[in-house]
Amino acid sequence: MRLRALLAIAGLAAASLAAAPARAERLIVSVSNHRVTVTPNYSGGELVLFGSVEKDDKTPPSRANYDLVVTVSGPRADMVTRRKERKFGIWINTDSRQFLQVPGYLALFSNRPFDQIASPEVQRRQQLGLNNVLLMQRVGPDFADVVPNDPFRSAFVRLRSEHGLYREATSAVTFLTPTLFRTGIPLPAEVPIGTYNVEIKLFSEGALVTKTETAFEIVKVGFEQFVATTARQNGLVYGLVTAFMALMTGWMASIVFRKD
């Protein structure tokens, strides 16, 4: 974290040396809730991210139109995408591709289509859109991302999108005034538990002006957390209690239903 902050400062310093007037804006953002708690009746929800673009005296007066891209990425995990093929008359998994430390939830929001915000080169470098986000894969002996229309990559993105876990919306960011913006972050019921990073990038005339980060977390509380941690930390006790619960339930049922 500190290293990343240092790098950011170094980058900022380098950038300001190279093009001092380009760093004239500041982004101030906040999410409606930094801690989403999962309770027994949790069934998904929506967060709101809002913020404003702060100009200062270095801002070129001609600059009026801003573009904004918000990237939300959830806790990372390794995943495998498998492809079925017909062999000996039955469909079996043959090929597979390993995705390394890819986000469990990934959402990209902007105020207009990415190709109108920046050139393809900038889109690729700034990872704008699901097609441009880096999804590290094990390809043979190498670790790399592949072209967006690769069958495994596109199937992976498609399957995640079908569950609402990967999404892209190019009209989700609304500018309330030329400098004040908001966007919703929809969370489906099956979102992974953990820390979510939100990266907000401000563009103007096809170039990145500035960016900032914030985060929120999704946590289990109360009974849910108690059950989950007990299962993980005291497996034997948990198993004994569950088995005892099973026997008690069975025994009680036979008492309740004893009529004859």
Partner: protein, 309 residues
């Protein structure tokens, strides 16, 4: 009513799970089977991860077979000695099965192996039971006496040494085939993640010639012990038993099992076997169709590792 499951990490409709538990419980009480081969696919269909489904179903089966076993015990329909001898083989088989499971997983294609063994086992067992039930029904309709135990037709199994008198079942039998059958059930159960009752029942009827009256209760005792053992094993090694999901399933399951057990006592033996045969066959065919028909989506995703180290 939606409820969030703490281990499965998804919200489910409580009434849907209750109904599924009750339906499977009814079937399990009626035929004296655990019902794992029905419950696990149903849970996966609802969206619960296969590993969590298998682990939680084990405790559900334990509950419904316990309540079933109690009511069979009251009707004196359990042979304790037979159950004990079966358990000796069952424990050995389970240990051996867990070892094989780990080995198969290291080879890859475990899913395919499980699907294939489901197809082969369920269609064979189901088909045989259905055919036998049909023949018995036709025979009884034709006026002939229905006898499962043909007196005098003692096979080689009855010539084996180490004979024991199983009083409750009124059979005099060598312990060797009983232990072997327990071993097979324990092995299959651990590898395929099922209780194995639907294989045990016909094996006891056709191979050991145990009378139908004690078969179901005795098989329930074996299911009960193996499933309690499996719950413990899953909880300690994988931490994947969802107690909340299990409790909902249990409540539905034990209720269903009570009614199922009553219904089972009213139906004649050969009809019961015909029905169970049909059910097992249907599930087997469903798995076979899934393997043969082009899947809707050729791709699938599975999580392999958790958070970064």
């Amino acid at each position: 009513m939606q409820l969030y499951l703490p281990i499965a990490d998804i919200p489910v409709n409580v009434f849907l799970i209750l109904a599924m538990g009750a339906a499977v419980g009814f079937v399990s009480g009626m035929f004296g089977i655990g019902g794992g081969f029905l419950m696990t696919p149903l849970l996966i269909f609802v969206g619960i991860a296969p590993a969590v489904a298998v682990a939680s179903v084990a405790s559900h089966i334990a509950a419904s077979s316990f309540s079933g076993a109690i009511s069979y015990w009251r009707r004196r329909a359990i042979d304790p000695l037979l159950a004990a001898v079966l358990l000796v083989g069952g424990t050995l088989g389970t240990t051996f099965g867990v070892w094989t499971f780990t080995f198969l997983r290291s080879l890859g294609q475990l899913d395919l192996m499980i699907a294939l063994s489901y197809v082969i086992l369920l269609t064979t067992v189901g088909g045989l039971m259905f055919w036998e039930g049909l023949r018995a029904m036709l025979r009884s309709r034709g006026g002939g006496a229905v006898t499962l135990r043909k007196p005098g037709s003692h096979g080689w199994i009855h010539g084996l040494p180490l004979k024991l008198r199983f009083k409750r079942s009124k059979i005099y039998l060598s312990v060797i085939p009983v232990v072997v059958i327990g071993l097979i059930i324990g092995f299959i159960g651990a590898v395929m993640g099922i209780g194995g009752g639907f294989i045990l029942v016909p094996l006891m009827i056709y191979v050991l010639r145990v009378p139908t009256s004690t078969v179901i209760g005795t098989s329930m005792v074996l299911t009960l012990v193996t499933m309690v053992f499996a719950t413990m094993l899953h909880a300690v090694t994988n931490h994947l038993v969802d107690a909340v999901l299990a409790l909902i399933l249990m409540i539905g399951g034990v209720t269903g099992a009570q009614f199922g057990a009553r219904a089972g006592q009213k139906i004649r033996g050969e009809h019961l076997r015909l029905l169970l045969g049909l059910l097992v066959l249907a599930v087997g065919i469903r798995f076979a169709v899934e393997l043969v028909i082009r899947p809707q989506d050729l791709f699938s995703i599975r999580e392999t590792g958790g958070a970064p180290p």
